[in-house]
Amino acid sequence: MVDNQPILELRNVVSAYGRIKALKGISLKVYPGEIVTIIGANGAGKSTTLMTICNIVKAIEGDVFYKGERINGVGSDILPTLGLCQVPEGRRIFPRLTVMENLDMGAFFRTDSAGVKEDVERVFELFPKLRERRRQLGGTLSGGEQQMLAMARALMSRPTVLLLDEPSMGLAPLLVQQIFDIVRMINGQGVTVVLVEQNANLALQCASRGYVLETGSVVMEDAADKLLANPDIRKAYLGE
């Protein structure tokens, strides 16, 4: 299928909160241009995986490679400048900054103001609701709008790889569908997406490949359609 070098790779990554190991040797590969999903129950270590990639949680063993380079020790604030950006779980927009200022923060490290202006227009096209609300404080947006703002903010950094942590969390079904459509659109524009989800059904429909996480370990990896057809997966994660 995709036969070139992985753009993002984890090799036997172990990380811990204090003495409790949250990741017990995770290995995964993400190839340029694809959507990879990581599914798993609550507490499986999905968010920790993304936070470890971004070096917010330090990996105590193993290696993280991005574009062929080891990025274990690279500061969290450097990664977005390299094109690796995360939309963290729970949105985490800046509530007392306006929508516009939130977007500006996404482009914080960028110095090409013309390009930034262009990108503001681009994300407004993707999320027309945000244009209407651009002078409103982020905290006054609805849940769905906040999720859109969080994604738009990350897009402002012109990411090569976008890490999305449970974008559908707590949203109404119609909005969930919309968010997944937008994820596909973003991917269509050439952004590689790592999609962490509890909504395994929609995530697997969206992705090309999937990893299944259980208590800090990868227990299964396969093409998304194969995982969708797998009776064990259907039973455990699709509620059948």
Partner: protein, 396 residues
């Protein structure tokens, strides 16, 4: 208002008054000679009558009997607000500055003294506002930097004969370095822990000033600090000193304003809102938090150097925790993150105790009551930060 609503109101008032009495008596009634009730009931009487009067007035207003009187007041307030919104900013700023410049020419010594106090606290408040209001780092030991600035000028001028104008930047620099030293170990802490550790650091600085006899002359303080001088002009009068601190305050306001609307200011706000998210957006939170401490401390250092020159004396008791708490109250009362808010907060908290001087013993009680009332009525401060979309407008 319904009968039931009114009953609830009066019950609430009665319960409140009983609580007040229970709190008041131990403060006023327990004396070394034994218990005493007269003073308590006297004060309680005043407060109770005042409460009943206010409540009665409130009910009359609610019932609409005052509409005839209220309407003109309301429309006048609206008029003023609209006029304010219409006047260009530079006119307002110019007028404020003009008033500030003319002020010492038309007032006496006492007014100069209070005004100097106000301006010193404006520098302190705006500096602390950078740390607390913008970067969201609760600093309870802020006054330590003020102390560093004051002792810097005191020691350099007395031991080496450095002039005030040379010492001013040195005081700012040393305070900034102290800010980094205090800031560095606390960078990984958040919220409550940060508050406790900064509180501790503030006390450590005070204890050093108090106990390092050889350097600071301990609790006796340092006397005979020279006044500022410029090209042979001796800043002898209070009025001339007023202009010195006015200049420092103007520089502080301008710097904080620039910082407020800069990229750095926005990054600080992002850190205040969500540190991890800010980091994920490419903000070097480590450096920026350190910078916030250093910048905030610098302004306190300037103010401290001036304070030493104005008092011609420094002692450790000027830099106690109470002072930190006072400056923090000014920032919170005025409105965190808002420059006019901080200035109003300072005016309120410096002026109020002066106004309430009549009350003598009960001054702090009245003061506390007014503060509590203010926070109930305007929880975001007198003049809350409101710059919705300000920077975004500029971008468009």
């Amino acid at each position: 208002m319904t009968i039931r609503g009114s009953k609830k109101l009066w019950t609430g008032c009665a319960v409140g008054l009983v609580w007040f009495l229970i709190l008041l008596w131990p403060m006023l009634g327990i004396k070394p000679e034994g218990f005493e009730f007269a003073a308590t009931f006297q004060v309680f009487g005043y407060v109770a009558v005042a409460a009943v009067f206010v409540l009665f007035f409130y009910q009359v207003k609610e019932a609409g009997y005052l509409d005839a009187a209220g309407k003109p007041i309301q429309s006048a307030a609206g008029l003023i607000q609209r006029a304010y919104a219409k006047t260009p900013t530079w006119v307002l700023l110019g007028a404020t500055l003009a008033v500030a410049i003319v002020f010492p020419l038309v007032t006496g010594r006492y007014a100069h003294d209070v005004a100097i106090s106000v301006l010193i606290y404006i520098c302190l408040g705006l500096g602390l506002n950078v740390v607390v209001g913008l970067a969201g780092l609760l600093d309870l030991g802020y006054i330590a930097f003020y102390g560093v600035g004051a002792y810097t000028y005191a020691l350099l001028s007395l031991n080496f004969g450095f002039s005030f104008w040379l010492c001013l930047p040195i005081a700012g620099l040393l305070a900034a370095i102290a800010g980094c030293i205090i800031g560095y170990p606390t960078l990984r802490m958040r919220g409550d822990y940060l508050a406790i550790v900064t509180l501790g650091f503030g006390e450590i600085v005070r204890l050093i000033l108090n106990n390092w006899m050889a350097l600071t002359n301990g609790p006796n303080g340092i006397l005979g600090i020279p006044r500022p001088e410029l090209f042979g002009f001796d800043f002898r009068s209070l009025a001339s000193l007023y202009y010195v601190i006015l200049a420092i305050a103007v520089v502080t306001v301008l710097s904080v304003y620039r910082l407020n609307y800069s990229r750095i200011g926005r990054a600080w706000e992002a850190i205040r809102e969500d540190e991890t998210a800010a980091e994920l957006m490419g903000v070097n939170t480590f450096l920026l938090k350190l910078l916030a401490y250093a910048m905030g401390a610098t302004f306190a250092g300037f103010a401290g150097a001036f304070f030493a020159a104005r008092m011609r004396f420094v002692g450790p008791e000027s830099f106690s925790f109470l002072e930190s708490a006072m400056v923090l109250s000014m920032v919170v009362l005025g409105g965190m993150g808002s420059i006019p808010g901080v200035i109003l907060g300072v005016l309120a908290l410096v002026a109020l105790p002066e106004v309430f001087r009549e009350f003598e013993l009960y001054r702090m009680l009245v003061f506390g009551g007014v503060m509590t009332l203010m926070m109930l009525v305007r929880p975001a401060g007198i003049w809350p930060a409101k710059r919705v979309g300000r920077r975004s407008e500029e971008m468009e």
